[in-house]
């Protein structure tokens, strides 16, 4: 398999005047959990449909596991698992029958199919209830079963479209845990779309942010956080206007909270700027520094600022 599980170049899909995906160029390395983030209507589901060859692109190219989405869609679908917007389970059938059907679809030999069904249902704590019609199950159980279905044929790449949407916090956490465990166990690449940013931050090695079909940023959550300005909180005494001006001139800081009254200043440093030189500068200029704290920028804040920047740019 190539180094990349997914490679797209200028991939676009329009529905009439609406550009659902526009000029998307993306590389997803094999073997990682990749988060595809965006607000509702950003083009996440359309991207998955394009990558599975369910929709033809209007422009650009995409290769999934080395196969062209335009001409080799069947090969892609044979090697990928998918949990799409809905669980997609046959609720009148039992869990075992659902997996039996998808195992037959994947052409797993009978013995291997039976063993795999047993293994996955046992792993997910569903084996005892395998004979019950799925319609009687809770949403969390259905999502687990849908994940078992997607993993049944040991795919190289798994597409998960908002897998924890609509689940309560406990079920979502349990599902996340199962997902990570199974992904590690199976050693597969996961392409996860979500608008739950804390989920993406916890699970994903790399994320991409998309809005209105356009890619805004891509990288590891840590790298994206580093690119953002993180406020630094300083508790000082003796910080004069002249020293402050020096800080602005030397480090390009922006004061976001004045500490003239209580000595508590909050300043924004430029992306990837270290705090140490700033503290050294203050000490050199006779300022007593009592506390320095760099605020943690969450992926959610990164995401929101990216979206806001994009809105302003328009």
């Amino acid at each position: 398999m190539s180094q990349y599980a997914i490679r797209t170049e200028h991939l676009s899909r329009a529905f009439g005047a609406l550009r659902a995906v526009e000029d998307l160029t993306l590389e997803v390395p094999a073997g990682i959990l990749f988060g595809f983030l965006g607000p509702n209507g950003a083009g996440k589901t359309t991207t998955i449909r394009l990558l599975l060859g369910l929709l033809p692109p209007t422009a650009g190219t995409a290769f999934v596991l080395g196969y062209d989405v335009r001409t080799q869609a069947n090969a892609i679908r044979a090697r990928c698992g998918a949990l799409l917007e809905h669980a997609g389970l046959y609720e009148r059938l039992s869990a075992a029958d659902n997996l039996e059907f998808f195992g037959r679809v994947a052409r797993l030999p009978r013995d291997e199919r039976q063993a795999r069904i047993r293994q996955l249902l046992t792993d997910l704590g569903l084996w005892e209830r395998r004979g019950e019609p799925v319609v009687t199950w809770s949403r969390g159980m259905k999502q687990k079963l849908a994940i078992a279905r997607a993993l049944l044929h040991r795919p190289d790449l798994l597409f998960l479209d908002e897998p924890t949407a609509g689940l309560d916090a406990v079920s979502a956490a349990a599902l996340r845990e199962d997902l990570v465990r199974l992904a590690r166990q199976e050693g597969i690449t996961i392409f996860l779309t979500t608008h739950n940013l804390s989920e993406a931050e916890r699970l994903c090695q790399q994320v991409a942010v998309i809005r209105e079909g356009r890619l805004l940023a891509v990288g590891s959550p840590e790298a994206l956080r580093r690119q953002r300005r993180a406020p630094v909180h300083l508790v000082t005494s003796g910080l004069t206007p002249a020293v402050l001006e020096g800080l602005r001139a030397t480090f390009g800081v922006e004061v976001i909270q004045s500490g003239e009254a209580d000595g508590h200043w909050a300043v924004n440093l430029g992306p990837q700027q270290s705090v140490a030189p700033l503290v050294a500068y203050l000490v050199q200029h006779g300022v007593a520094v009592e506390e320095v704290r760099r605020e943690h920028v969450s992926l959610e804040e990164v995401f929101l600022s990216l979206v806001q920047e994009n809105e302003h740019a328009e």
């Binding site: 929709l55 679908r77 998918a82 917007e85 809905h86 059907f101 037959r104 994947a106």
Partner: protein, 243 residues
């Protein structure tokens, strides 16, 4: 390919026969049809059941009604229950999905028709006594062929309606309208001018039954192929997702 078609049939039948929600209804309606066609009607008609093709032909397409719900649910139902996209995202080829859906209904409907014919023969043999009686081979073959082709035609029309409908209910309504047209077509003849009716009747009287049946079967075969080709043209994954 055949394996994939069989897999689809397996799934359709599994939903139809074994699910608690649908299975009992399926069993009951199958038993009712078998009771009417395999016991009640043969007893009414008597020994002529084996020799009167028109009686048999009129009833031979009854099992079509068993498949109506199944075919109209085939795609529209999957869309409504949000399983269609997952099915389309599998490695199953288009032809396997489509043929699997059509054949699951045809084999069920036709299977009931064949069982009815056999049950009718058994019923009459038991009730009339005497030597064993059965349909003549050409008569039996015609009955089987007619039943297969008529079930195939309506299964194809049902799947076509289902491919185009937003809901299974909408597909069912559309197919019911088509069925009504077929059902009431013979009654429409009485509204034709009297000389037209005489001409048609004269033409029919001059034809022998074998020619009529051959013509009907030929026409059914052509319609079957036409409807199936329309289904294939209509079955596009992208279109099914976006409709």
């Amino acid at each position: 390919m055949l394996n994939d078609v069989y897999t689809m049939i397996w799934k359709e039948w599994r939903e139809l026969f074994t699910s608690r929600a649908v299975g009992r209804g399926t069993l009951l309606s199958t038993l009712i049809i078998l009771g009417i066609l395999g016991v009640f009607l043969p007893l009414q008609v008597g020994a002529e059941w084996f020799t009167q093709p028109l009686t048999l032909m009129v009833w031979a397409w009854m099992p079509i009604f068993l498949t109506l719900g199944m075919v109209t649910d085939s795609f529209a139902g999957e869309r409504e229950r949000h399983t269609l996209e997952t099915l389309l995202a599998t490695r199953l080829p288009d032809a396997a999905i489509l043929l699997g859906k059509v054949l699951a209904a045809v084999l069920y409907g036709w299977g009931v028709a064949v069982l009815s014919l056999l049950l009718a023969a058994l019923t009459l043999n038991l009730s009339l006594g005497g030597g064993p009686r059965f349909y003549t081979p050409p008569f039996f073959a015609t009955a089987l062929g007619f039943s297969l082709l008529s079930t195939g035609l309506f299964a194809g029309l049902g799947v076509l309606a289902s491919l185009r409908a937003a809901t299974a209910r909408q597909a069912y309504q559309r197919l019911s309208l088509i069925l009504l047209v077929f059902y009431f077509l013979p009654f429409g003849v009485q509204f034709l001018p009297a000389d037209w009716r005489l001409t048609i009747l004269g033409a029919l009287m001059r034809l022998d039954l074998t020619s009529v049946m051959a013509g009907v079967m030929g026409a059914l075969l052509v319609f079957n192929l036409a409807v199936l080709s329309l289904c294939f043209r209509r079955f596009q994954r992208a279109r099914l997702l976006l409709d």
